[in-house]
Amino acid sequence: MPARFGVVVFPGSNCEQDCHYAARLVGAQVAYVWHQDTDVAKYDAIILPGGFSYGDYLRTGAVAKFSPVMDAILDFVDKGGLVIGICNGFQILLEAGLLPGAMLRNRDLKFICRYTDLVVENNQTNFTNKALSGELIRLPIAHNEGNYYADEETLGEMAANGQVVLRYCDTNGIVTDAANPNGSLQNIAGIVNKQGNVFGLMPHPERAIETVLGSLDGQMIFKSMISAVSK
């Protein structure tokens, strides 16, 4: 049986169709989950897509965390279900406390949309098990608030637990200031929770799934998830 993915639709989500398309392309069975739904137990994995939930007028992801579906997702996470939050989805996971840290406005105060180079720091997660250790991948970013922040203690803890999964790097895989698009601390682009079943990342893997789009590297993340839930 194919892996069952649910893509949550908040008012203002705008990457839900892209995520639906991408997950289907790599072989998952995909359905939309409405923000007022209260049960997600029938899915193997949940995708919180990018966009501007509730317009992001107060703070990115701030209002979405109070949606009924988020209670169901907390429950789902407790039971070990896989949740991936992409861009605005990552911001929602941070606001909901499912991942540590917070997002600030980009260093240059501008929205940035372009391809970035990333290094896979941890390939032992449910979301990167199809990558090589230290593999270099190319995924696009598109955000205004992707400047990751956490206090020293949290950063230390995350490092100790291998929770930093993706960092922005240059084309040679070196993590440099110049390769940091938004000012994120330690070039952090994607992190998992301590339990390893919640993943948040600013880059959009669903935008890099076909050669016609310029990169296939995003497939790795969805395939890793399928592999993890098929075990």
Partner: protein
């Protein structure tokens, strides 16, 4: 009708690029005595019912849970009686 005025600002130590830009602009315009600028949000809540203590508790909860992100922001508020 009581009105709560909530001020949300980035915590000390968190980089505030907007504040920096305004600070630089003021410098170039000759305001040398402005040593620091921090940008925040001001939110007004019109309220009804409830005793002053209950209102205070309620506004504190709203400010903590929704209006600010405790990881990066702090808040203050005061509640005034307005016509």
């Amino acid at each position: 009708m009581p009105v709560a005025k909530v001020y949300v600002t980035l915590k000390d130590g968190i980089l505030d690029p907007q504040g920096q830009i305004i600070g630089k602009a003021l410098k170039t315009q000759g305001y040398d005595n402005v040593s620091r600028v921090r940008v925040g949000k001001f939110i007004e809540l019109e309220l009804t019912g409830e005793t002053p203590e209950k209102l205070k508790k309620q506004v504190d909860k709203i400010s903590h849970d929704l209006l600010s992100n405790p990881v990066i922001e702090s808040y203050t508020f005061d509640i005034q009686e307005e016509a």
